[in-house]
Symmetry: D2
């Protein structure tokens, strides 16, 4: 699909403390994602497509975006925060678990915005992206997971997850370029 | 019940813009609630009972406590915000609809805190308190709704809701004094 | 509203063992409901409005309609089962708790049937009807609870619940006659 | 883990019409699973571990086990139905979508049975098993997916899913033999 009406861009877990085991590896896999993801985000904003950050709470339960961003600063994740810092009119949803739909207002916000198509991006392909895509699939959203806008700790783990998303669930996992055609 | 282990205090919708039809009436009914509710909150904090604000998003979807508090300032609700302003170590959960459990992380936070008993307070008895109590009841929490710590637009509406909570659901709706015995 | 497209009729807990304390009282309050409810059901079937039983599991977890009906026979509830026995093309959903939406496929079935309007009927007004109506309200269904097609253990309890449904939630609680106009 | 208290055995989608594209392939992959799965089920029954079928509704919404079993008979799936026919005291939950937790009473039943450990078996590894395991993981159940008691349309698809379950989620995917040690 190309970016069109009734679409939202989900950006998952890019505001990230990156303080866990394997974080360095994940960061290496994530760096190449930042440019295409930034471009896709800017494209969506030009098209008035809502941009929704869906982000781990990193142990905080105050539902305070700025507090979470501050909590994540000062470590490996700084480069992500700089590049992908949410803008004032982006939505920001805090998730307590892996799926963006579990224990959050995401589904209610999407209905409020009349969204039926999701572009799911961010970290990590085999965990929060997969969990969120599965939940979106059961709720019958049309789903695109652009393969150049998501990363996992290893290329193999990313491939396994993309294989399930594209072969088993028949989701569109083509590159973000296909979403920006015709601009 | 008295305040005891495994209990949390829920404070619902007291950070409130009070800009809707009927707000003046609701404010009149709410003012007498502020003193017992403040006392109950302070009692809970002395007992290390977690205090969880569960609050309407007032049309904001950024999940930013401070932004919601700012949005609510400058009107009828100021007296509530001053008296009941959340403290730094209170939890704050933003709810998109009437029940504190619907589209929120409340249930997950309560499990995380090992809570099985809820004291439900705030606004309004016949709407968000009733909806939240119903959802807590189905999830098998022990529930106390102290009648002096909740208000509705009219005394009659409050009575109808308390009647359902106490007679139909057999919840404890006795005054907050019963919760603070023995301190 | 009159019965129209995108509507479903929910019939809650009328397949009922009626073996609990207060069951005789509830039965007395329920008997006058059976005629208008039967008529409303037949009207809906003539209009091809889906009829969905949403019924307590009475301690059985086999999700077997016939087993539940058998379990409920032989007691006070027999008159309800005879009058309101589900027909082969009625839907039947088993609920483990009070709200028809909690732990059931109701919301998914309603989306599958493209339903946005609910007529909620059955037992009891201040418990499962109220819980189900609250959950439907948060999910933004248009809701009609015809006051002559629902009952509670006492007329007072029914009135309290109807008062909340009609005054607080502004739901249409007018008689089922208003739904059958023009046939 | 070995089979122990607070455990339930989930058997997913083995009552199956097998009338879809790829069903012959899936059947080939499933036949070798039937023997270990039967043995594991019998082991669980001897240990008084609850056995819970969680099964697709195959387009029926009557929540009637027998009707679903009848609907599935007469085709490729007959061998599964014969081998794995639910016994009278097995639980049977009908799911409308892929995860056993979505739109079902599974989570409520598990709490009712005081279950905190799940053995997840059946079809298909990369779809309903993966979706159900993900949902169980977010709800903090201990999870074992014995690799010899689950199948997918291809061995490769099964491997991808097992890789995510065992490497990404760190679930125990060892053979069912490890669950039956010491009997």
């Amino acid at each position: 699909m190309t970016v069109q009406e009734n679409t939202a861009l989900l950006i998952i877990d890019v505001i990230n403390k990156m303080d866990f085991e394997g974080a360095e590896q994940l960061l290496q896999q994530t760096l190449p994602v930042l440019e295409p993801l930034s471009k896709l985000k800017q494209h969506c904003k030009r098209q008035n497509i809502p941009v929704i950050y869906v982000n781990d709470n990193f142990g905080l339960w105050q539902e305070n975006v700025n507090q979470i961003i501050d909590e994540c600063r000062g470590g490996l994740g700084d480069v992500l925060i700089e590049t992908m810092h949410p803008e004032e009119n982006d939505y920001f949803i805090i998730k307590p678990k892996h799926s963006g739909f579990f224990g959050t207002q995401l589904d209610i916000l999407l209905k409020h915005l009349d969204v039926s198509r999701l572009i799911i991006t961010g970290l990590t392909t085999d965990m929060c992206i997969l969990f969120t895509a599965n939940d979106a699939y059961m709720r019958e959203y049309a789903i695109h997971v652009p393969e150049d806008c998501t990363a996992a700790e290893t290329a193999v783990a990313k491939d396994h997850a993309l294989e399930i998303l594209s072969s088993t669930l028949s989701l569109d996992c083509s590159s973000s370029l296909s979403l920006m055609k015709g601009e």
